[in-house]
């Protein structure tokens, strides 16, 4: 079965060419995902005509908000976060949660735990809601798996109904500082800012042990907020002692199964995202949808073999630029610009 082939490919890419597996994944989804087949048929595309994975029509992430894209019955249902009750949210029907776990196993340690050693566990502080708190969050699923798989007994989650729980997070940091063993903090940029706000209010400065790292995801993607990100990194260093070079950024989304990471802990450019070998990232011209050369900004398009349960070829709403072996994030497409009195997509997210 195709899912087994993809799972094997995560750890043994030498057994099968990516290109072959990509076409097989396309054919499998063409057969099973009706809205996707309709898209292909309207474009005169079918497994019989496609010879290259780049020819597979990408599915827009916006489609996850209005239709069911599932190649098999869902085992987990993930929804994108919404800031207001009326917001249209993406729904990802995930039939293969074991594959999702396998993806995390095959990519997370390489970028986030490069010095932990095989099977190594370490104290992890998660500022991300637990799967019990947010059962429909793919990020919570991921954080939960990371804690189970790599967290030592001292690991903890400090997130409650009002966001980051300052007191337990403080106690945790204090205890780990005394122990002197490297730790890992999992957080969204927003949660990280909330934590640092709390430390700043109390004037509590920590020096987390050398070798400690921060896994940061979501938020602060746009250029307009780069100042805020720089500020966040400076504050992180000031209040926890973790330098910017020890912050790993993750690029992932509810609609995707795989993640891309920056190779900060590997001594690489801390703003350059790299995709794992089962993922291909291209940058497309937003007007023509043709691939643009490296250095030209465009729309990020991802071919993720692990997204076999819904849509392997995904057109995201993010803008980026290809750079060597990776890409840089520039911002979000939808609602990137709010214009005066006109009603635009982002502004209306809270509308019915």
């Amino acid at each position: 079965m195709i899912v087994d082939r993809v799972t094997r490919f995560l750890t043994s890419p030498q057994n099968e060419p990516f290109e072959e597996l990509a076409l097989a994944a396309f054919a499998w989804q063409f057969e099973r995902v009706e809205p996707f087949r309709r898209l292909c048929e309207r474009r005169g595309v079918s497994p019989a005509t496609v010879t290259d994975w780049r020819q597979v029509p990408p599915v827009p992430t916006a489609a996850f908000k209005t239709m069911t894209l599932a190649a098999a019955p869902a085992v987990e249902i993930f929804r994108s976060s919404g800031t207001t009750s009326g917001e249209e949210r993406s729904v990802h029907h995930q039939p293969f949660p074991d594959l999702y776990r396998a993806v995390i196993d095959a990519s997370f340690p390489r970028f986030c735990l490069p010095f932990a050693g095989a099977g190594g566990r370490l104290p992890i502080l998660s500022l991300i809601p637990t799967p019990a708190q947010l059962p429909d969050s793919s990020l919570s699923f991921m954080a939960g798996h990371i804690l189970d798989r790599w967290g030592s007994p001292e690991s903890a989650t400090a997130f409650g109904s009002r966001g980051v729980e300052a007191a337990p997070a403080r106690s945790w940091a204090g205890a780990r500082q005394r122990e002197g063993k490297p730790v890992l903090v999992l957080a969204t940029a927003f949660a990280l800012a909330q934590w640092l706000d709390g430390l700043e209010r109390l004037g509590l400065k920590f020096r987390l042990p050398a070798g400690s790292a921060v896994f940061e995801t979501g938020g602060f993607k746009g250029r307009a907020t780069e100042v805020a990100r720089e500020d966040l990194l400076a504050r992180l260093r000031a209040w926890t002692g973790v330098p910017a070079a020890s912050v790993v950024r993750e690029y992932g989304m509810t609609e995707l199964t795989s993640q891309c990471y920056t190779g900060s802990l590997l001594g690489e450019d801390p703003e350059l995202f790299r995709a794992p070998h089962w993922v291909r990232v291209r940058i497309l011209d937003p007007e023509t949808l043709e691939e643009v050369p490296a250095g030209t900004p465009g729309l990020i398009c991802v071919f993720d073999l692990a997204n076999i349960g819904s849509a392997v070829h995904l057109l995201t709403e993010d803008l980026g630029v290809a750079d060597g072996e990776g890409f840089r994030l520039l911002g979000r497409a939808a609602g990137a610009e709010l214009r005066g009195c006109s009603l635009v997509v982002e502004e209306l997210r809270g509308a019915p």
């Binding site: 599915v59 937003p286 057109l315 709403e317 911002g331 214009r339 005066g340 009603l343």
Partner: protein, 426 residues
């Protein structure tokens, strides 16, 4: 050289603000560097200039206003020749699109409609102080909308331009003050980063009323910092209703204008069309008219994020098997969407045509949008029969297709009487 500020006459020789040259691609102008004290002095100077403003006879004020507007409507005028090239770039409109946009905005405040508004105007109590108008960057020339009623209410005005388009307001004020020097002490325009609390504190303290155009978060922020002073013109949208009995060709021609003007960035830009007639036929005609419109008013350069959002809308429609008339991304997108819910447009002339068996259902469909509905273009008897119910929902403007984006000075933007907001204490 164009400037991003216009100072009250009493401050023209002051040391601050300091001006420096700014270069953007193809644009060069002189920009003021503000600090809280300098801005505070502007507000104080305006307060003093209010006395002269109150002494100007209405006839003289209207004459100067009408003459200035007429000058700015003439594309060959000195002012427009200097302003149009940078303004088109800054507003990301083609030159033809900019001309059409300015004609629509300025046409509504010519001497005649201005006189109609003036006939209702009363001088506001002097203690109300100056008016701060916080402008948005989506529409060129928007400055004239709050400026006219403020002057008719005899209140000095500070126009805060958006950083994205800092040139129109000072150019217009400069021309106006030349025609009526008694106004020179009561007018100011300045540009600074919106939301800068450090800079804005003295301004918000010194003015009596804030007319603010922009996103809801910005309006809420201003209201928090200037409680009770803010009249907000927040995000709103517009649509059209075309009854089966209407002349589709004529309606589509007008709708294309209502969609394409300002490249669909205004709150009066049509984003959806409801019809109880043949939706596909209407959509086809609209697409064809938009194609023509793309030649008459070529679209401006498309920002990548907006193009990307349009691609998402197109793909999503394709996956749902919807009929769509896709021109080039910048020319427009017309989708026949059987789901009746009103959905926002990402811009770039993107319109959904919704078939409705019975137009009577429309008010209920739109009810959740109450408070965010601005204009409706109506064609055909059954569409016009809906007018009272649309007004009850908050629509401030119901007109025939093609006229939606050309309101005059008496229009109640967002349902707000432009004079009432300025003539009394809030």
């Amino acid at each position: 050289m164009l400037r991003d500020a216009f100072l009250p006459a009493t401050l023209t020789h002051s040391r601050e603000p300091v001006f420096r040259a700014v270069e953007r691609p193809g644009i060069r102008y002189s920009a003021a560097r503000w600090n809280p004290e300098a801005l505070g002095r502007v507000v104080a100077a305006l307060q003093e200039g209010g006395a002269a403003l109150r002494e100007i006879p209405a006839h003289d004020l209207l004459a100067a206003w009408g003459d200035t507007v007429a000058t700015f409507l003439r594309t060959g005028s000195l002012e427009r020749r200097a302003l149009d090239p940078p303004l088109g770039r800054l507003c990301e409109l083609s030159q033809d699109g900019l001309r059409a946009g300015l004609e629509a905005v300025l046409g509504g405040v010519r001497k005649e409609p201005a006189a109609a508004l003036a006939s209702r105007a009363r001088p506001a109590p002097q203690e109300l102080g100056p008016v701060l108008a916080v402008l948005a960057s989506n529409l060129p020339g928007l400055a004239v909308q709050p400026l006219l009623p403020a002057l008719l209410a005899r209140r000095p005005v500070l126009l805060k331009s958006p950083s994205a388009e800092p040139l129109f307001a000072p150019a217009f004020l400069s021309a106006l003050a030349r025609r009526e020097p008694r106004l020179a002490g009561a007018l100011a325009a300045a540009t600074w980063p919106g939301g800068d609390t450090h800079l804005e504190t003295s301004v918000l303290e010194g003015v009596g009323t804030v007319l603010a155009y922009g996103e809801q978060a910005a309006l809420d922020d201003l209201e928090r910092r200037a409680p009770g002073k803010v009249v907000g013109y927040g995000p709103m949208t517009s649509l059209a209703v075309v009854a089966a009995s209407a002349d589709f060709r004529g309606a589509a021609e007008g709708l294309a204008r209502d969609v394409a003007l300002f490249d669909q960035r205004g709150c009066l830009s049509v984003v959806a069309v409801y019809t109880d007639g043949d939706a596909e036929a209407l959509a086809g005609r609209l697409a064809s008219e938009l194609l023509d419109m793309a030649r008459i008013w070529p679209p401006g350069p498309a920002a990548k994020p907006v193009s990307a959002a349009v691609q998402h809308v197109r793909f999503e429609a394709e996956m749902r098997g919807l009929r769509q008339f896709a021109l080039s991304v910048r020319e427009g997108t017309v989708i026949v969407d059987p789901r009746p819910e009103l959905r926002p447009s990402p811009g770039l002339r993107t319109v959904r045509v919704h078939p409705l068996e019975n137009l009577e259902r429309l008010p209920a469909i739109l009810a959740p949008w109450r408070g965010r509905l601005q204009g409706a273009a109506l064609a055909g008897e059954k569409a016009w029969e809906l007018e009272p119910r649309l007004v009850e929902l908050g629509f401030s403007r119901c007109v025939a297709p093609g006229e939606l984006q050309s309101p005059d000075a008496t229009w109640h933007n967002g349902g707000i009487d432009p004079l009432e907001a300025l003539e009394q204490e809030r």
